[in-house]
């Protein structure tokens, strides 16, 4: 119970900062790269230009922070979606492992992509 009480505020903090970061940055990125460029409404930027922008240390850090926070935002909110929406509170331990474990795996992959592949 005590560890739960110590961890829960941190998870809540990750949830809210992730929600804010996602709200601010994801709409424009998804609009451009998910719809505008693939649908051909505007010419996609060249690979060289995107590489130059994405490889800037500041871009890498911002993207990494946003990815990690957004994954933990998902984990926290989806945990309660399963608890309340699907009434799975009795599977609490399994859900916690899947949600926050998934966020940890996602964060590691984000780190790998942004720091090693890019």
């Amino acid at each position: 119970m005590t560890t739960k009480r110590r961890v829960e505020p941190l998870l809540w903090l990750l949830f809210t900062s992730g929600g804010l970061a996602a709200a601010m940055l994801i709409p424009v990125l998804l609009l451009l790269f998910g719809l505008v460029f693939p649908a051909g409404w505007a010419g996609a930027p060249t690979e060289a230009h995107l590489l130059a922008v994405a490889r800037h240390p500041l871009t890498r850090i911002v993207l990494l922070v946003v990815c990690v926070l957004a994954f933990f935002h998902w984990a926290h909110r989806f945990r309660y979606t399963l608890y309340d929406g699907l009434q799975l509170k009795h599977l609490s331990k399994l859900i916690i492992v899947i949600c926050y474990g998934g966020a940890l795996v996602g964060s590691a992959l984000a780190g790998y992509v942004l720091l090693a592949v890019l």
């Binding site: 990125l29 994405a54 993207l63 998902w74 592949v117 890019l118």
Partner: protein
């Protein structure tokens, strides 16, 4: 929690809720949709990471990624995702003033100012990202 019932430890009273308890009322449906937006946030991040990986792997991978993103089902998925992400953004900004109590010179900053600051920040960041990508 689920100890067997004895005379001294009676069975817990836990009424069963129907699985789709949230279907019947509009505000409940909106609540569940807002909760579900997190799944689409997660997909957006995965999609962006796939894009960044493609950029990092070179020109042909990037072109392949653009081609694949142009397939009708990916476009449809991303259009749905954008709708959920915008829903998340708007509900988040509109709730922020209720969650944040900011005081200035001992007076509470009006809610409209806090929401307005969020929208202004959003506009600024959106313009900056669009300029970085398109310039």
């Amino acid at each position: 929690m689920n100890a067997p019932a004895t005379e001294l430890q009676p069975r817990w009273y836990r009424p069963r809720m129907p699985l789709f308890w949230w279907v019947g009322r509009r505000s409940y449906r909106i609540f569940v949709l807002r909760e579900l937006s997190s799944v689409f946030i997660a997909w957006s991040v995965v999609f962006l990471l796939l894009l960044i990986r493609a950029i990092g792997q070179g020109g042909s991978e990037y072109r392949r990624f653009l081609d694949r993103s142009g397939e009708p089902w990916v476009l449809a998925l991303n259009a749905l995702t954008l709708a959920f992400v915008l829903f998340h953004t708007l509900t988040w900004f509109n709730l922020a003033p209720h969650a944040m109590v900011v005081r200035l010179h001992g007076k509470r900053v009006p809610r409209t100012w806090i929401a307005g600051a969020h929208y202004a920040g959003w506009a600024l960041i959106t313009a900056l990202v669009a300029w970085l990508v398109l310039a």
